[in-house]
């Protein structure tokens, strides 16, 4: 039904301007045979994601391929553009060579067609997760939370693609994927909360300018650390005078200081925001007795208990090691299935203790607590079955999708996860660890029509949904925020039941944020 891209073999370099002309020439197209040039590109640069790496020969060449996707019976012709574009400072000094893959619908009106920039997190994670797994025109099939899908993961037309709503640009941050700082900068130059957001602001502005899209409704979509990155980026873009219509935050960490999962030392952070997630996982294994599912009603029951009873109990334990009356511990055991003795040992329950002690001789996934492995089994080797199951499939797929589907070939290795976090400058807003609620607040102050959508999974054990609710509750009453959480893990879109729900929520969000009916 869907033709594979008709990629012409051979090397043909496109300058940015030529790419613009090619994309523009798609106007009025409507099918794979619109006559617009297809071009593969072999990029001879060797891109590096190490801290000291510094590119001296940046290029802005792209591979351009043409495709079609049928959604709800309608064929959507689109162009895929893969390559680099330089982020430039206000004085036009080159800062970094940013790798991106853009999917743009042919024949759309630039003034009204939204464009969305996607960012994974880490810091140090490339955006291959969102690119290959979420709402692009094609996606990888994982079958999560089952672990029966064999490699390679099938790469199929995505009936939940957002391409019917927005153009989609998947962006690798500096020192991830194939993005690298331009000399005299090094990757380390941009490895900080503020530095990273600044260089990505410059990239977004350059991409919009080069592609004639400065008037298009603009959306930013972050996942994980990307939800820390995107509020800072949104504030910087709004400050610069570039309006942002909507922000999508998937699996959020808005405040590193409030999330007890990033805490490695003596516990000081209240884990009450995690209790509803522990309960959802406990019901998945049929171990919880006070609730039976992750239905809205059950989640509301646990959330009420978390806020009214567990939060003050955990605060007392943190302050003085004092345990509450035994019936409180029994209630927690009933909500989660985690034995009372485990709560007695570590009452402010961290996710690592929870996922290693809920089911005997079994490790539960960090990203998706529903994915498990027997201790000592191959899937347990890296201590996170939910990551170990999907990472090889994504790592392998990006190496074939770039040349075979998108016409982009490079001798470089696309780095899914770099060491950026080891030397990342986390300081922001006068704090050693970032709190970006003030950034969202500032952006909303500059642009009261900006809207924010928070999405996430009930079974994500690292950025739990109720912690997001607590962080978002700091914004003033009436703030233009919407929250939706579904069964699933950190990469909630991998769940075949939840992805269609998220797609519908995204479509409604885009309509409201662009003033469409």
């Amino acid at each position: 039904m869907i033709p594979s891209p008709s990629v012409r073999r051979g090397v043909r370099a496109f300058a940015a301007a030529a790419t613009l002309a090619a994309v523009t020439a798609c106007g009025g197209g409507g099918g794979g045979g619109s006559g617009t040039a297809t071009a593969t590109y072999v990029d001879a640069n060797t891109y590096s994601t190490t801290a000291g790496a510094s590119l001296s020969t940046p290029n802005e060449n792209t591979a351009v391929t043409h495709h079609s996707l049928t959604l709800n019976g309608a064929a959507i012709a689109y162009t895929a553009t893969a390559g680099h574009l330089s982020a430039l400072s206000s004085s036009q000094a080159p800062e970094a060579s940013i790798f991106y893959v853009a999917y743009t619908a042919d024949g759309a009106a630039a003034a009204t067609r939204p464009v969305t920039f996607f960012f994974n997190g880490g810091p140090g994670s490339a955006t291959a997760w969102l690119h290959l797994g979420s709402f692009a025109p094609k996606r990888l099939v994982t079958g999560v939370p089952a672990t029966t899908q064999t490699l390679p993961f099938p790469y199929v037309d995505n009936t939940e693609s957002l391409i019917d709503t927005s153009d989609l640009v998947f962006v690798d941050a500096v020192g991830t994927g194939l993005s690298e700082a331009i000399a005299p900068n090094t990757n380390q130059t941009w490895w900080g909360v503020d530095q990273d957001a600044a260089v990505l602001r410059d990239f977004v502005q350059r991409w919009l300018s080069v592609n004639g899209r400065t008037a298009s409704p603009l959306f930013l979509y972050g996942e994980s650390y990307g939800t820390t990155r995107v509020p800072v980026l949104t504030r910087l873009l709004e400050t610069a005078g570039q309006r942002v219509n909507g922000v999508v935050e998937l699996s959020s960490i808005l405040d590193y200081n409030s999330n007890c999962s990033v805490e490695g030392g003596t516990p000081t952070v209240n884990c009450a925001g995690f209790l509803p997630s522990y309960s959802a996982v406990g019901t998945w294994y049929h171990l919880a007795t006070a609730v039976t599912s992750d239905s809205d009603a059950d989640i509301a029951t646990v959330t009420l208990y978390a806020d009214s009873t567990y939060a003050p109990d955990a605060a007392a334990w943190l302050a003085g090691g004092t345990l509450p009356p035994a019936d409180h511990v029994a209630a927690l055991a009933a909500f989660t299935g985690l034995p009372a003795a485990t709560w007695d040992q570590r009452f402010d329950m961290d996710y690592d203790t929870f996922r290693h002690h809920l089911v005997a001789a079994t490790t539960l996934g960090v990203y998706d607590g529903r994915v498990s492995a027997l201790v000592g089994s191959p899937l347990d080797a890296a201590d996170d079955p939910s990551n170990s199951f999907v990472e090889p499939g994504f790592t392998a797929a990006i190496e074939t999708v770039l040349p075979n589907e998108l016409g982009f070939t490079t001798p470089s290795t696309y780095v899914l996860s770099s060491d950026a976090i080891n030397t990342w400058n986390f300081s922001h807003g006068g704090r050693s660890m970032p709190d970006v609620v003030p950034d969202l607040s500032a952006a909303l102050s500059l642009d009261p029509s900006l809207k924010v959508l928070f999405l996430g999974g009930h079974h994500d054990l690292i950025t739990p949904f109720h912690q997001t609710e607590l962080d978002v509750a700091r914004l003033p009453a009436g703030a233009p925020v919407t929250l939706h959480f579904h069964p699933g893990g950190h990469m909630t879109y991998l769940d075949d039941g939840s992805r269609p729900l998220m797609k519908a929520e995204l479509a409604a969000f885009y309509a409201s944020a662009t003033g469409a009916p």
Partner: protein, 121 residues
């Protein structure tokens, strides 16, 4: 009341020993976490007026960065060149005294008036 049997220090050591490298979001280095813990004792997460003050601090930092000459005021051209294009885009509404230059207090006044106006709509 009962007290916990296992010391927090033991838990801290056990947690650090099993740190996994691939996590996203990953934990900042221990020294960063310890510094943050010390700060958080005296500076809890901001809400209400304190949150507004935190937000304003970001905007003031951008204003000061654009104000390369340290005059305390910006022209529209200086604002745009200095990365605060939002001020340039709203300049006439902010510059109520028509001096051709605006201070950060002028920006705050404009935002407060705009919010007060939208609240009555």
């Amino acid at each position: 009341m009962r007290t916990t049997t296992l010391s927090m220090t033991l838990w801290a050591a056990a947690t650090l020993a099993q740190a996994a490298p691939h996590l996203d979001p990953g934990a900042p280095p221990p020294a960063t976490q310890q510094a943050a813990q010390a700060e958080n004792r005296t500076r809890p997460a901001s809400v209400g007026a304190a949150l507004q003050s935190d937000a304003e601090r970001h905007l003031r930092a951008s204003f000061d960065a654009a104000d390369a000459a340290h005059r305390g005021t910006l022209s529209a051209a200086e604002a745009r060149a200095g990365g605060f294009g939002w001020i340039a885009n709203h300049f006439d509404a902010i510059d109520t005294r028509h001096t051709g230059r605006v201070s950060f207090d002028d920006v705050k006044r404009y935002l407060a008036l705009r919010d007060a106006g939208s609240a009555t709509k």
